[in-house]
């Protein structure tokens, strides 16, 4: 950050340039423990301003305080600055009737998600389950309006932390990212910038949210890496992503996701690149982190079995829409939608616990997810469904409440209504 940008930032909040506070600030990096009143950061989205209500006491050195949590997660709360982002609880994130569209050359828009619905409350764990191409990842990206260009949210409501995401300015969105919603991506190899040191990337969210100085960021990065169970954290933080093994990278990525103290952690196929040992230990780690911080978790996976291990609620998505949503136990015991039933029986080891003997045919779902152009006004699963009726091919079912906890989008269930589009 150059002095010029700091000057611009001062202009924004209108602190007079003769302020005695500013007179002592020689620059953000020269006086690492003395924070200027506001910051600008260059991110992928452009210059972003961050104004904080808490001003550091001018000129006083503030060494990073030791964490009251010791080496456990949650060390960042000791950074001495802000309280949780907004102070709001419950209904952390909810998505209703989500539609995400991508422009199609001759002037049209293809809506690849049409009818995404799920909600995550504070401290909850929810799994989004479905085959690839069902819109799981896009729906999770919509939580912070990170839908990749040229796609965008074209319909529905996405409310995160009490705010409607669609209308938010880029600066407000930037505050949600990392500070309310943290992401752990599927491919740890691709999620890191190969040219930047691991420590810098791990601390980035914290730098953006809390304005950590470089020295503080280095310190926190090491603390975070230790907290996710990485040995030799100093060396790893100083190294580059390619020097880490797959399991280490995934842990470092988790540390990076936690740096901004998010309240919702989105895990996109977190274990599919890992061997069973690393999978197990990562899942256990995430469980510990979740308990220690009261984090909410949104797991994205195609593996219902993994979802069952982690989540209290399962939301099944098919062809861009939510088809079933239920508490995990109920869903596994009595899946209501034919797609959920089919997914359950696709596992190499089916429910019931008896491994299939070698040579027995494994169940599959014939056909494939239809492309968005073919969705029409009918049930999207009907072509692959062995219980499809005449009505399924002429009307589109709405997501209907079975019990207060369960919803399903299928005409097989009494009371299912025509949902249009």
């Amino acid at each position: 950050m150059s002095p010029k940008h700091v000057r611009q930032a001062r202009g924004v909040v209108g602190i007079p340039s003769h302020s005695p506070f500013l007179a002592r600030v020689s620059g953000p990096h020269e006086a690492p423990n003395c924070r200027p009143p506001d910051h600008q950061f260059f991110t992928a989205g452009g210059w972003v301003e961050e104004q904080r209500g808490v001003l550091a006491v001018g000129g006083q050195r503030r060494p990073p305080t030791p964490s009251p949590w010791g080496a456990s997660i949650g060390c960042c709360l000791s950074a001495g600055v802000p309280l949780p982002y907004n102070g709001k609880v419950a209904g952390l994130a909810s998505v209703e009737g989500l539609e995400i569209g991508f422009p199609r050359p001759p002037g049209g828009v293809v809506r690849v998600v049409r009818g995404g619905e799920f909600a995550v409350t504070e401290g909850d764990s929810v799994a989004l389950v479905g085959e690839s191409g069902c819109g799981k990842t896009l729906s999770a990206l919509a939580l912070t309006n990170l839908v990749p260009e040229p796609g965008r949210i074209v319909g529905g409501r996405v409310v995160v932390d009490g705010e409607e995401v669609r209308g938010l300015s880029e600066a407000r969105l930037q505050r949600l990212r990392g500070a309310v919603v943290g992401y752990l991506w599927q491919e740890p190899g691709m999620a890191f910038n190969p040219l930047l040191r691991v420590g810098v990337q791990v601390a980035e969210a914290g730098v953006l949210r809390y304005g950590w100085s470089r020295r503080q960021a280095d310190c926190r990065a090491v603390e975070l890496l230790r907290a996710v169970g990485l040995e030799n954290a100093e060396a790893l933080a100083a190294g580059y992503p390619h020097q880490l093994s797959g399991g280490q990278r995934q842990r470092a990525l988790l540390a990076a996701a936690l740096a901004g103290d998010p309240r919702l952690l989105v895990l996109d196929e977190p274990t599919s690149a890992l061997d069973p040992l690393a999978q197990q230990s990562l899942l256990e780690l995430i469980g510990r982190v979740q308990k220690a911080r009261g984090l909410a978790v949104l797991l994205i996976t195609h593996d219902l079995q993994l979802a069952a291990r982690v989540a209290r609620r399962v939301v099944v998505m098919y062809a861009g829409e939510t088809v079933e949503s239920a508490p995990t136990q109920e869903l596994l015991a009595a899946p209501a939608h034919p797609y959920t039933q089919a997914l359950l029986y696709c596992a190499i080891t089916p429910p019931g616990g008896v491994p299939r003997p070698r040579g027995e045919e494994l169940a599959t779902i014939p056909g494939r997810v239809p492309p968005p152009e073919a969705w029409g006004g009918v049930c999207r699963f009907a072509p692959r469904c062995d219980r499809a009726m005449a009505r399924c091919r002429t009307a589109h079912p709405a997501l209907t409440e079975l019990t207060p906890e369960r919803r399903v989008r299928c005409f097989l269930h009494a009371g299912a209504e025509d949902g249009g589009g």
């Binding site: 020097q243 079995q305 015991a333 429910p351 491994p355 070698r358 494939r368």
Partner: protein, 278 residues
């Protein structure tokens, strides 16, 4: 003994250069495999399991002749084919074919499905018309019944399971006796994984193709393999009948792998769901 074994890898060793080494000549210093001996009889199915970094993929690449071992030899029916001059190495390539983990990256994205399957045939000198005919037969063999229309499609138009079946059809074009599969289902959805597993099983049973399944998915080994080899840090630590090893692993790492895979091996135990949430 070795004369009768279809594929015999004896005391294989492979070293890779140290990370960041400027000169990558000669054998490296990091041992990826040490003294690995694996015999594959005709029509057998063997699983190779182990944690990441154990050398599973290195073994697969050596068996398929993509790399030459630094120590030890690979023999096909008693003929040493690796390390060996190019002419004899060709025998290894005819006998053993490798199928990669991710069909999205192992297939040429700009090559149509039919051309991809025909390519190994035309390389062997099969005429164009006959190659087209055999290509369609191969696609049907792997359960892709789309005919000409399917052969004209690009890999991106296919689902993950279909793509992996195209990769299998291509590997089968040279009529190999051994298929080495490096994580054949890791990149696939649970819903299409069964397609590939069923197909592999049918190929093994009906056509007598020997399978070497390299994976960390023990459920896949249980579903496909007769015998299993556990590889840890480049050496074989346990070997035996698949069901016996999975039921009662003796080596500590093998036991840890089995324990970590318990949820996938034992299926859903509704009471045992370890919920992370409060």
């Amino acid at each position: 003994m070795a004369e009768h074994t279809l594929l015999a890898a004896i005391e294989l060793g492979r070293r890779y250069p140290q990370r960041g080494a400027w000169v990558r000549r000669g054998p490296g210093t990091i041992p990826a495999l040490r003294g690995v001996t694996l015999r594959v009889e005709a029509g057998e199915s063997v699983g190779v399991v182990g944690p990441s970094g154990a050398g599973k993929s290195t073994l697969a690449r050596l068996l398929a002749g993509m790399e030459a071992p630094d120590e030890g030899t690979i023999a096909v029916r008693g003929v040493v084919v690796s390390p060996a001059p190019a002419r004899r190495r060709a025998l290894l390539r005819r006998t053993v074919q490798l199928v990669f983990q991710d069909p999205a990256t192992s297939l040429n994205p700009r090559q149509r499905v039919g051309a991809a399957v025909r390519e190994p045939l035309t390389v062997r000198g099969v005429g164009r018309r006959e190659a087209a005919q055999r290509g369609l037969e191969l696609l049907r063999l792997v359960g892709l019944w789309g005919g000409d229309a399917l052969a004209k499609r690009l890999p991106r138009d296919l689902s993950g399971g279909e793509r992996q079946r195209v990769a299998l059809a291509r590997a089968l074009a040279c009529e190999p006796q051994v298929l080495v599969l490096d994580e054949p289902t890791a990149a696939l959805d649970a819903s299409v994984r069964g397609q590939v597993v069923n197909l592999l099983h049918a190929l093994w049973r009906q056509r007598g193709v020997a399978l070497v399944v390299v994976t960390h998915d023990l459920a896949l080994v249980a579903a496909l393999c007769q015998r299993v080899v556990v590889l840890v840090d480049g050496t074989i630590v346990e070997e035996g009948e698949a069901r016996a090893v999975l039921a009662q692993p003796r080596h500590a790492t093998a036991a840890a792998l089995v324990a970590a895979s318990a949820p996938t091996l034992r299926g859903w135990n509704l009471k045992g769901c370890a919920h992370v949430g409060p």
